[in-house]
Structures are given as C-alpha cells and as structure tokens.
C-alpha cells in the first residue's frame, strides 16, 4: 500500500522506518550522554567496590542497603555525581533542539540527507526552534498551573472523603488531564516546527498563531494521532519494566539490552510523532496550495463561491474532513 493511502500514524511509521538512520543517530547520542553522565559515578563506584567483597550484595540481587551505603559514605557519595547526569541530560536536550530542524527536513524531503545538508538544516532552524522552545514555556506553565489547581482540588475533595480512593483517583485524574493537555501543547508546537520547516517560516509568533489555528481546527484528528503513538510509548515502557523485574539479577547483559530497548522505544515514538506530524502537514499543505488558487479566483469574482471555506479560518486551514 502506498504511503498516501495510509493514515498519518501508519504513514508516519513508514517514514520513520525509511529514515531510521535518524533514529539510530539520536539513540547513539542519547546512549553517549547516558554513558558520559554515568561516567563519574561509575569511576567512583569502581574505586570503592572493585577490590571489595561488598559488591556481591549488589550482584546477587540488588541489596538496597548496600546501594544506600554507596550513596551515604562520604568517600563515595554517589549523590554528588547525579549532577553529571543532569548536565548530560540537558546537553541531550540542547542536541535535540539543534537536530530537530535536520530531522524534520529529512522527513519533509523523505530522503537521506548528506551530513552537510542535515546539519545545514539543523543550523538553519536552530534559533527559530530555540525561540519556539522558550515560547512553549508559557503554555506549559499554564498547563502546570492547571495541574496544580486540579491537584489541590483533588486533595481538598479527597481529604473530606471517607475512602482513600476518592483522593487517589481524583489525583490520577488530575495527572491524566495534565498529561493530555501537555500532549496537546506538544502537538501544537510540533506542528509549528513542521510548518516552520515546510514553509520556511521565520516569524515564530506568526508561525505559532497559524499553527494554533491549524491544530485547533483539526485537533480531534491530530490529537488521536499523538495519543495513539504516546500510548505505544507508555505501554512499551510498562512492559519493558515488568520484563526487567523478572530478569535474573545476575543477567547483566540481558538487563542492559532490555533497558536500552526501553529507551530506544521512547525515542522511536517521539520521532514517530514528528514523522506523522510532517506527513499530516504535507498532505494538507497540498490542499492549501489548491485552496490558495481558489481564493485568488474568489478575490477577483464579484460574488463568492458558495462552497468556499469560511473566510475567518484563514487560507491555510485544511478542510475539516481532511
């Protein structure tokens, strides 16, 4: 089946699969960040445990007491080395801002870009995406405040209820609403990123406004795409962790592979969302091109055509049944 006959989720996955080199690149950088972030703690642990039998308590099971010993003792003090993990996690975040332009360009063209082309695209959109990321703080903060409010309300109602479940379930409900709202904000900003690449848009305020209208207009369809892919991410995470808890404590290579697969699945679903958003947008960009011609005709015609889209929806808006 050709991609244009598939739904955006399936077509997005096909695109992700064809351009899987991008995913492997991102995964390798993520692994590198993980390894470098864990490096100081590993060196410190090796110094403390390599010539001590105390480590046996960690290999034949995972004795939390011995791990706490490593965190607690000043000569090891593993807590201190969490900083390097935070630093490398942040570097990966910056890396993703940098390469998102290249990734989207690669998805837009649906071909393997040369390294030069890839980073040229990445560089071209870097500052625009930094601006978008900074602007995204506003809606994410609003969503965070909504969550705080809902959470307090859940606590308030739960505190007055006899059964524990009332407060717990309301709290979970608040968390679910938070996640869905955050997903919607992510979707909006992803459409903005895709639109910036496809239209080579430079004004990010304007881009955000137009992306908002696009996302809002077809939000049910777009949100379903994002929600389905997120569901895949959450389910694979849970299955992966459950499988991990059932591994024998001494099977370290297997444990490593499984944990890496979990991370890979999370990165994959994220790029799948971007690929699906690109596919969706490109299909509707073609509709937009046709609509533009129609609009031009309308402007020169004395009476408007009866089957035109509503004027206040803007020229770029896709039809509702798209």
């Amino acid at each position: 089946m050709a991609d244009d006959q598939k739904g955006p989720v399936a077509a997005g996955f096909s695109l992700l699969w064809r351009r899987q080199g991008v995913l492997w690149w991102v995964f390798v950088v993520n692994l590198l960040c993980g390894a470098l972030g864990a490096g100081p703690a590993t060196i410190r642990t090796a110094h403390a445990l390599s010539h001590s039998l105390a480590g046996q308590k960690l290999t034949n099971g995972f004795d939390l007491g011995m791990f706490i010993e490593l965190l607690r003792l000043p000569k090891v003090d593993l807590w201190r080395y969490t900083t390097s993990s935070y630093i490398f996690a942040f570097l990966f975040f910056l890396f993703m801002i940098l390469v998102t332009g290249g990734i989207l360009e690669s998805y837009r063209q649906d071909r393997r870009l040369t390294t030069g082309d890839f980073f040229a695209a990445s560089g071209a959109f870097f500052w625009r995406f930094v601006r978008l990321m900074l602007l995204s703080i506003i809606p994410f903060a609003i969503v965070g405040m909504i969550y705080q409010g809902l959470s307090k309300l859940a606590d308030h109602i739960g505190d007055r209820a006899i059964a524990d479940q009332v407060g717990i379930f309301l709290g979970w409900g608040a968390m679910l609403i938070f996640l869905l709202l955050a997903l919607w904000v992510r979707l909006w900003f992803d459409i903005a990123q895709v639109r910036a690449v496809v239209q080579n848009e430079r004004g990010m305020w304007r881009n955000l406004w137009k992306s908002w209208r696009i996302t809002w207009h077809d939000s049910r369809h777009l949100f379903r795409i994002y929600f389905c892919i997120s569901l895949v991410a959450w389910v694979t995470l849970v299955i992966g962790l459950v499988l991990w808890t059932h591994l024998p404590p001494t099977s370290l290579p297997l444990s490593f592979v499984l944990l890496e697969l979990i991370v890979l699945a999370q990165l994959m679903t994220r790029l799948w969302q971007l690929a699906s958003a690109t596919t969706w947008y490109q299909r509707h960009a073609e509709v937009f091109a046709v609509e533009t011609v129609v609009v031009e005709v309308v402007e020169t015609t004395p009476s408007p055509a009866p089957d035109l889209p509503a004027a206040d929806l803007g020229p770029e808006l896709p039809p509702a049944d798209a």
């Binding site: 993520n30 995972f62 939390l64 993990s85 059964a163 994220r270």
Partner: protein, 650 residues
C-alpha cells in the same frame, strides 16, 4: 409492686459487678493482679463530635505505696502541649516538623487543650484554687502540661487518697498520637494523669516533642457516651453498651494492670475479629479499619497473630484478653504507628504493593510495645531507648523471621532491604552526637532522638549478639521481660540482666555503646602476597610451586574498640580465620605458603552492624567488576531516560 421493683433493682445492682467481673481483661489462664496497682481511675466521659471535645469526671484513687507521706501531687495535662507557647510546640517548631505534621500551617482551630474546672480531694475539700502549673524541665512559664496540688495534710504511707476532677479535653486535628480527622477520633493522653513517684521523688516531666510518657500501673473503668452510630474501641475490654434512647449510647470499658487508657471512635469503622491461641489462653484480636482498606485487613491480622506467636515463644506470654488494632483513615497519619496498653494503631492505605512490608513494619513495632512499654514500663521521657530501641531490636528479629534478614522491609521490583540495615542507617545518620544514657527529652533534635533511641539501640543489640550469641541474647531478653514486667526497670536493670544471663562482664561494651558516642570502623588496610625469593633474578612464578609471603593488615579506624574476626582466603582454596581483640590501632598477620592471598574479609556475616563502613571491611587482590557494571548499567539508563524526557520539551 414497689417491693418487687426494689428487689429487681437490687438484683440488677448486685449482679452488675458480677457481670463486669465475668468479662475478665486477662487471657483465660491468667489470674490478676499482675502489677502493683498504684492507681484506680474511674472516668465518665461524654464525646461531642462537632466540637471534638470530651467533658468528663474523673475519680482517681491513689494508693500511697511509696513508703513515705505525700502532700504534693503532680498531674499531666498532655493536651495543653498543643498551644503556641507550650514547650512541645516550641521544640517541634525548633526541629522543623513533627513526624508527618508540618507546623507551618498550624491554625488556632488545631490547638488542643485540657481544662480542669474542678479539683476536689475527698475529705480535704475543693482544691481547684491550689492547682499550680509547674515546668520542672525548662522553666517555661507558658507551658501548662504539668500542674501540682499541695494537699492540706499529707497522705500517710499505705493510705489512699481520692481525687475527683472535672475536666474538658479539646482535641486538635491529629497530631502527636492524638486528635481527630473527619469523623475519626483517637483519644490519647486525654485525661489528667498523676505522675510517678520513682526513686524517692515525683517523676512528672512536661510533655516534650521528642519523647513519650510514663505512668503507674492500675485499673481503669471508663464510660464513654457518644452518638450511637459510632463504633468505639479502647484499652482493655468492653463490658457494657447501653442505648440511652436519645441518639447516644454509653459504652463501658475495664482494664487492669495497665498504665494508660486510650480510645478511638468513628461511625465508619469496620470491625474485623480474630483470635490468637497463646500460651496462657486465647486472645481476641479486634481490628478497626475501613472498607477502603479491605485489602489490608488480612495482612494486619496475620501480622498481629504472627508477632504474638514470636513474642510468646521468645520473650513471654501476652496476658491480656484482647488486643485492639486501629487502622487510621487516610490523612490521619499522625494517629498511626502508636501504642497504648492493649491498643495499637497501624498504618496502611488502599494499595500497598506486595513485597513492601509497611503494614508489618508498623504493626509489629506497635505490638512489640505491648512488651517494651506496656508491660516492661520504662520511663519514656528519660530512657526512650528502653522502649523504642529494645522494641526496634525485637522488630528486627521478628521481621527477619517473617521474610528473611535481607528482605524484611522490602522485596519489590528486584530490590531488597532488610530491617537491620534500616535501623543501621538510622543510627549512622547521626552516630556521635548523643549517648544513649542521656535523658531522651534532652537529645539535640528530633533526628538525633530517632537515630539514637531507635537506630543505635537496635544496632547495638544486634552487634551484641556477635559477642554473647543469638540464643543467649534471646534468653537474656526473656529473663529481662519476665523479671521486670509490670514494673519500671532502669537502664542498669537491663545491662545487669544481659551480663547475668550471658555470664559475661560487658562493661567494656556498655561503656562505649551506652555511655559513649564512639564510632566503630575496622578496615582491611592491606592484603598482598610477594614471592619469598623476590631477589632471585631467575624467579619464574608458578601457581602451587612458588612460595609467597602474604601480609594482611587490619586497621581500627574508629574509636570504638571491638573484637574482630577476619577470614583470609588463598588461591589454593586454603582459608584462615583470625581473631583480633581490636584494641591496638592495627595488627599485622604474615603467612608463608605456596599460595597467594585472594581475599580478606572482616565480619563476613555482616553481624557487626555498628560498623560504620561496610565497603572497607574486605579487600580482594583481583578486581571484581560485576557490581560496578550493574550500577553503571542502571545509572546510564536513568540518565538516558531523564535525557529523553527532557528532550520532549525541545
């Protein structure tokens, strides 16, 4: 007709005490009295749920068994601790928080109070105006948790004095083991309680944030009137339940050979009954919980029954007819994890994953207090380690027997944690600030109190097993319990009993662990083998043929002196056991054999839990990386996961 009524009334009045007596507070094979009964409380209380107040009349008969005339009597009014200028609040605020409670949002409606409106001494008249608040510990003039009354004439040795007190108790929202939450009430420390005449003087401390209580044994007859839809549980056994016909009921309880009385009430309670067949007869287990905690009912009952079995087997019988277990509602955490005689509160929730032994941890601990506090009634103000610490030690033993030493608290998602490790970390959080012998209410802070009273005592007693042996320690604890139950033993009584049963003079140990703040840390400083003929230029080392000189150095890093056992393993399979008295700063062991040293390990069974650093207790000549790789794998994963989560915002 009138005569018939008089006869019927007389019969009822005469039979009532018999009916009450038929409901013995003891297990079938126990005949009281078990203690020297100094006090007899009769309290008639009325609970008003909307205002969370109790109005009551208390008749206290005090038997002067002190051997001397007494003309001054001090009383505790514990609920007055929950006033802004009280010593308790001052101390709790100084240390940030109290248990789970934050004082940051403490409001006037959360204040608690004990108001005495009338204080009369039978035969001496109304002495309400003689009541005088005193602050024996810190001189705080605003603390009203202790008052004393000087009688017009002394009470002679052997004589009784009867106090009649009218009071009102206003409960705060749950804090410090007492109070309300929604319709739930835990009434603890709610009535005026006389001090203890101990070692020739009154012992009646103010209520402190760090410490708990101390009182004399006696009997309690308590009637509580409350709305009739309420379900009530209390210390002792219920002897009557009378519908008053006005929407209220009066429930009467009787308890003997106990030193405190607490009760709880809530219309939403569910009652779950079970029994335990102990060595002195059947004991009723009465659990008061909630529908929403249904999953936890069986774990509670199982834990109480299994704990009773261990204590019965190891330390001595539980002589009472009943144990009431309260599972507080959500949001009432401050009411959880508390002990009163024959009455404990646990801690649970709607869902607790299998493998997280929270219910056992709390319930076993509180049941253990029936022995170490309830029956062996030590002074909790001054020697908290004797109830909390000894109880934490037996908690380790009991939970270890339930789930194994390495997973007695947690065995979930591949991770394990043992109770002894938990206690050890508690101790090592503040190992060298306060000695155990210091009066507990004078400890530096809440954290230090917890580290020393609970963690250090448990850790010290586990380590003591290394010296006297596990079975001897159990025998000593049994002797201590049987000898001092229903009395108020001192620290010296405990040490003396351990010395006696073990047949050892353990002063050297008590001096460091009890009276000192020394920290124990031994390490393997060096372990290496070199060819004896190292100077031979043609030497070709060959396993099993070349002779090596092996040198092992053990080092005392800490200032706590303790005998050390070490295991030295060689690459030909030989194993050598060394024992060092640990007194000098270091010791060297030298071996000549056709084998090289493989590893040296101090305390291979991890029994010396006082040791502050387990990592330096062993040394291997070859490096082992399995544990390092495991930690690295997990650490990399967590970093990667964090990174990909953060990148979601990009």
């Amino acid at each position: 007709m009138k005569r018939l009524f008089v006869a019927w009334f007389s019969a009822v009045v005469l039979l009532l005490p018999i009916a009450a007596a038929a409901k013995s507070p003891f297990a079938p094979e126990v005949k009281g009295p078990l203690s020297q009964r100094v006090v007899a409380y009769q309290i008639d209380a009325k609970y008003d749920p909307p205002t969370h107040t109790v109005t009551a009349t208390e008749t206290l008969t005090y038997h002067n068994l002190t051997g001397q005339a007494l003309d001054t009597f001090p009383f505790h009014l514990y609920l007055n601790a929950f006033q802004p200028k009280a010593t308790w609040i001052h101390e709790a605020h100084r240390d940030g928080n109290f248990r789970t409670s934050s004082l940051a949002n403490w409001k006037p409606e959360d204040y608690g109070a004990n108001d005495v409106s009338s204080f009369e001494v039978v035969g001496m008249g109304d002495l309400t105006k003689q009541m005088k608040f005193v602050s024996p510990d810190d001189g705080n003039p605003d603390d009203k948790t202790v008052f004393q009354v000087k009688l017009p004439r002394p009470v002679a040795p052997g004589q009784d004095v009867v106090f009649k007190i009218k009071f009102k108790a206003t409960f705060p929202e749950v804090i410090a083991r007492t109070g309300y939450k929604r319709t739930f009430l835990l009434a603890g420390q709610w009535f005026p309680k006389v001090g203890v005449f101990w070692h020739g003087q009154w012992n009646c401390h103010q209520f402190h944030a760090l410490t708990e209580f101390f009182a004399d044994f006696g009997t309690f007859d308590v009637k509580v009137t409350l709305p009739k839809d309420y379900i009530i549980g209390a210390t002792g056994v219920q002897i009557s339940d009378q519908d008053n016909g006005n929407g209220t009921k009066t429930v009467a309880f009787h308890a003997e050979d106990v030193h405190d009385f607490a009760w709880t009430a809530d219309p939403n309670f569910k009652v779950i009954n079970d029994t335990f067949d102990g060595s002195v007869g059947q004991v009723k287990i009465r659990l008061l919980s909630y529908d929403s905690h249904e999953r936890q009912w069986q774990p509670y009952i199982t834990c109480v029954r299994d704990s009773m079995k261990r204590f019965d087997d190891w330390y001595g019988p539980y002589p009472y007819a009943q144990i009431t277990v309260v599972d507080p509602p959500h949001g009432a955490g401050e009411a959880g994890g508390m002990e009163y005689p024959t009455f404990i509160t646990g801690d649970s929730g709607w869902y607790i994953p299998k493998g997280v032994h929270l219910i056992d941890l709390v319930t076993e601990h509180e049941f253990g207090h029936q022995y170490w506090y309830g029956m062996v009634a030590t002074n909790e103000f001054e020697n908290a380690w004797m109830d909390e610490g000894i109880n934490s030690y037996t908690e380790v033993k009991v939970l270890d027997s339930f789930y194994g030493a390495d997973a007695s608290i947690l065995n979930w998602m591949g991770a394990q944690l043992g109770e002894r490790e938990y206690q050890r970390f508690s101790y090592l959080s503040d190992p060298d600030i306060d000695p155990l012998y210091r009066h507990s209410y004078q400890d530096m802070s809440m954290g230090e109190y917890g580290a020393i009273s609970y963690g250090k005592t448990a850790t010290m007693l586990i380590t003591l097993e290394k010296i006297v042996g596990e079975q001897t320690m159990r025998n000593a604890m049994h002797t201590y319990f049987m000898r001092y139950r229903f009395t108020h033993p001192t620290q010296e009584d405990f040490m003396k009993t351990i010395n006696e049963v073990s047949g050892q003079d353990l002063s050297w140990y008590w001096n460091q662990a009890m009276f000192g703040t020394q920290v124990l840390d031994y390490e393997v400083l060096r372990a290496d083998s070199n060819p004896v003929n190292w100077f031979d230029e043609n030497l070709k080392e060959k396993k099993g043929e070349t002779e090596y000189e092996t040198q092992v150095i053990l080092h005392r890093k800490g200032d706590f002196v303790f005998p050390v056992e070490a295991v030295v393993k060689f690459d030909n399979g030989d194993t050598t056991y060394e024992r060092w008295d640990g007194k000098d700063r270091w010791v060297r062991y030298v071996y000549r054999k056709k084998a090289q040293v493989e590893s040296v390990q101090i305390d291979p069974d991890y029994q010396v839990t006082l040791d502050s650093d387990y990592l330096n207790n062993s040394r291997t000549t070859e490096s082992h990386h399995a544990a390092v790789h495991k930690i690295a794998t997990y650490w990399i994963f967590v970093t990667q996961f964090l990174a990909q989560m953060l990148s979601w915002l990009a």
